[in-house]
Symmetry: C2
Subunit: 200 residues, 2 copies
DNA sequence: TTTATTTACTGAACACTGTTTATTAAGTTT
DNA sequence: AAACTTAATAAACAGTGTTCAGTAAATAAA
């Protein structure tokens, strides 16, 4: 049936159109300040139409999260090029931190925003892959680390990286009185120091 | 003038009434799900009345933040009782992490929520005091640490603590697949390990 | 080709949100 | 007792996410 094929294709295109617009606005305006009506305006459809393709605003976020996790994963693949395991770990961390600096709104909706974690309890698209990149990288050098459990090592390194970036994004790091133009280097230095610390 | 005194007193009482109601609802429902109308209902006044005492919803948050920072500071004073500097540091960290576990919604509005950081750019009530508790505690044992700069040491320890708690509160830590009933102990263990790591 | 049916879309509404303003009622001063 | 000041509110405005009855076009059946 050619027609149903085309219909399906058009449906997918419409979904993509909506998500692209949503993502663009989430990045430039943030999730909260982007309304369904804004998105509808941008793609020149009525707000109600969006609800024919997505259940609610959370599903839009869920989908954009998936895209964003793909992007950070691709950044990992792009940046982590070394062969030495410890070097790879460092490259991974730099890649992560840089992603946060360069795409703060994406980082926000991936790791900070409270939202569609209700989606089937467990599966969280493409986040697993990104996390797996970390655990895999850690596995390769776990014998050089002061950790025996990969998950605990991940906690120690992801926790710090995320903590610093989110304090930065949500402007809490200001309380340290570290000058604005030095914060990024301070964060990077702290993360690098962490790598040295966890080395056996 | 007795009357103006009483008026001033009544005004302050009203402000307190509003803030108490707001705080209670921020804790039980969260900031986003608490509306001005809800608060007004609770104290049996009209929504417009609240605007006679506070500029906007952000000012409410700002005020509750102040209270919350006082509370965490009090928790620090209560929990950090040791005389040995390193012990004090550990007690401080435990106090911080426990506060996050026991008052997740307060923690949220203090450290995660995006909001009234616009308030005069700089002053952020009672947060400085709490942060100062950390830097002071660090100063006392900086010679036993692998850091020379107190602010960088704070970054390393606050960053990790905050990172883990916020990943927990915003449910991102689930991706580690660490069983729910083990996460808290895993977080505490990670923080303790960090203390060992930064020890010279 | 004409009729029937399915599909895609939308205008208008609902129930909420933060916030402002004109009006009323009470308290205070003259 | 009259004039003035203050405190509180009802009602409105502009926005939000979301739903639903109704319309117009595309497809299927006659």
């Amino acid at each position: 049936m050619g027609i149903t094929d085309r219909k399906e294709r058009e449906k997918q295109e419409m979904r993509k159109l909506i998500i692209s617009a949503a993502m663009e606005m989430f990045i430039t305006e943030g999730f909260d300040k982007t309304s369904i009506r804004n998105i509808a305006d941008k793609i020149e459809y009525s707000p109600a139409t969006i609800y024919l393709y997505y259940k609610d605003k959370d599903e839009l976020l869920y989908e954009v999260q998936g895209q964003a996790f793909m992007e950070i994963y691709n950044a990992f693949v792009r940046d982590v090029t070394a062969t030495d395991p410890m070097d790879r770990l460092q490259q991974l961390l730099h890649s992560y931190v840089n992603f946060g600096f360069e795409h703060p709104d994406l980082y926000d909706l991936m790791f900070i925003l409270r939202s569609p974690m209700n989606a089937t309890e467990n599966d969280w698209p493409n986040c697993d892959e990104a996390y797996h990149f970390l655990t895999k990288t850690l596995e390769e050098c776990i014998d050089q680390l002061r950790f025996t459990d990969v998950n605990l090592a991940a906690l120690s390194i992801w926790g710090l990286g995320h903590g610093l970036i989110s304090l930065y994004i949500r402007e809490r790091i200001k309380v340290t009185k570290i000058p604005d133009d030095q914060i990024r280097t301070a964060i990077k230095a702290t993360v690098d120091e962490q790598l040295r610390l966890i080395k056996r």
